[in-house]
Assembly symmetry: C2
Homo-oligomer: 365 residues x 2
């Protein structure tokens, strides 16, 4: 029997409680299959700062190195908010994980079921059929990882700088991820840049254009400036199908997209490396788009769907079982559309607990 | 009699038609005052490319140098869309103007009258009283004007880089503009950065914090990461009062804010330098937030309010006549709230022409 091996980094706040339910759902979804799930839990984030003095302990990294994927919860919370920004759990855990495991492609579905349009801040008539788009963000390049420094100007003033850089191969590999995503959907890509101002964006635009013409001539590729994209997302999100953009723009736009999709409790993400896990598939880190929700942590009422859907993405990309991913996604959708809802999407109606939500999903697998 | 001298750069598309009406309103608003308006018209943008081969001819710059302010329309359009991004009218006119005239502070009110909430993409219950916030964007620093280059990597790959840099004095002067704006409003500032990733943001946060503590202890200052700000703006814009941020973040967030405020036809902006015009006040460039709207250009149906409100801002900041600015703003508000509306804000009801809209505003001055 094959083994699908992953680490579980549940983290802080609601992380552990939604993770428990995601694991239950995952195990049920995989019962009777020709493989085994094997996972181990490790500290990360605030919990790891408290127990081991750092947000990403070496033991956690080592465990991840031996696995084929990481199922991540969420990290951070008020307890660690007064740490300097660069030491805060989210940053201090996620950026090194992305770099160490070369997770260059972040895939975030912006999916809002038509039954949940009330959850979106947008007027219903703007999104009569919900929202269904995908944002692909470059995750290991750009200004996040470029040279940074503080210095004195000639006049002796304090100053600082950050460098944004991209090379062709970095752009091509994220273009490939965008293209594959587009081929499985509407074959339409919007590439977002700021080519009227940035030299990296000029290279970005030129490289993606040439890449698509050569490899995916059937895909319709359009370009949009990032400021315009921020407008269009809030005006009419469904004019997009697949969006692809560089690291920093993707940080901003994918969060804007998330809020427009209503409930963070429903949104998952995948951060993928190349095809080098022990199955020859993509190593990846899978996590909900939302945070640790300290206000409801420990109450057993958080929405586990984002975590469950993240586990589904893991089955798809790191373990090659699109069928199981689809089965889980369908069960989540069915449960929610049957009206089983945690408080964040109940709109004042009776809400179920985290565990009851998972129960309802398991029933529908 | 004093003379208030400005150049009129109407530009392309609807630019000239809304400009004509803005000038009419401005003249009526200033009739009988103890100063004279003196202005001259100059080519800019696509029109200037066509007539003189460049988006910002030297003659235009020279005229602006002799004036105390610039009233700007909008530039660009399909005719010039196939020019390389860096040569497109908007970019090729605006960036040099900002640099030449040291227009380091961009002020964009995000104002949506309660009567116009239908125009916003946001649900009415999110903005029951409309929207009233202000975005202050640093405009001559950061990655826009840092070193840019293309180069070959060690492996011979094409690559590009852009540099984002800030020094203390650049941050302090925009902090001062934000503080003054906040003092005239709710005394609350959100500073937006990415201090968990960028060194420039660390300096930004530190400098603004120290500046406010020292000079404006009565202002409540909070900090937000840019990705979170992009979420919060779309979720609940009125939690903000004054936002202040660096150039690129401001480009993105101010456009997101604009779309959330419903109609671009209602939004104005000011780009201010220091107090060095011939009146000892701030030299500034005043322009609508929207574009040239090629689809309706020449039809006489565009909304002139943004241009009119831009002229009001000019009276306030470059000519020191807050009273006249307020008079114009009140007249625009009254006309719109009395139901006089151009097509963009008529919601299917009878719409007036550009000129009729201006007439209605003049009647209410
Ligand atoms: C924590 C932070 C560094 C991170 C980012 O900006 O990439 C987060 O906002 C995200 O989007 O995953
Ligand atoms: C035209 C472009 C360079 C400009 C900018 O990005 O600053 C525009 O988008 C704006 O916001 O005024």
């Amino acid at each position: 029997k094959k083994t699908f091996k992953f680490t579980v980094l549940a983290g802080d706040g609601i992380g552990p409680e939604v993770m428990d339910q995601a694991l239950r759902v995952l195990e049920c979804a995989c019962k009777g299959e020709d493989f085994e799930l094997s996972y181990s839990r490790h500290d990360v984030g605030g919990a790891a700062i408290d127990s081991q003095g750092e947000a990403l302990p070496k033991s956690t990294v080592d465990a991840c190195s031996q696995a084929d994927a990481i199922l991540f919860g969420s990290v951070g919370g008020p307890k660690w908010e007064n740490l300097p920004p660069a030491k805060q759990p989210e940053r201090a855990a996620l950026l090194p994980l992305r770099k160490i495991f070369k997770l260059f492609a972040n895939i975030r579905p912006g999916l809002l079921y038509p039954q949940l349009t009330d959850a979106s801040p947008l007027k219903k008539e703007r999104i009569p059929n919900g929202i269904d788009i995908v944002c692909i963000r470059e995750l290991t390049g750009g200004i996040y990882f470029g040279e940074k420094k503080t210095y004195k100007t000639e006049d002796g003033e304090d100053a600082a700088c950050d460098t944004m850089s991209y090379k062709v191969s970095e752009i091509e590999r994220i273009a490939e991820v965008a293209a594959q995503t587009a081929m499985s959907r509407g074959k339409k890509i919007y590439s977002i840049d700021k080519a009227n101002v940035l030299q990296t964006s000029v290279l970005w635009r030129k490289t993606i254009t040439a890449f698509m013409e050569k490899n995916y001539p059937e895909i319709e590729l359009k370009h949009l400036y990032v400021d315009n994209a921020a407008m269009q997302l809030a005006r009419d999100p469904n004019q997009f199908d697949v969006l692809v953009t560089e690291n920093m723009f993707g940080d901003i736009l994918s969060d804007e997209m998330a809020v427009i999709c209503g409930s963070l409790g429903m949104l998952c993400s995948a951060s993928l490396g190349d095809g080098s896990n022990s199955l020859g598939l993509k190593f990846g880190l899978y996590e909900p788009a939302g945070g640790t929700a300290p206000d409801i942590a420990g109450k057993g009422i958080a929405n586990p769907c984002a975590q469950i859907l993240s586990a589904a993405m893991m089955m798809r990309y790191s373990f090659g079982r699109d069928d199981i991913a689809k089965k889980i996604e369908a069960a989540v959708r069915k449960a929610v559309c049957d009206g089983v809802r945690t408080g964040d999407i109940a709109f004042g109606n009776a809400a179920v607990s985290t565990k009851e939500m998972a129960d309802a999903i398991i029933e529908r697998l």
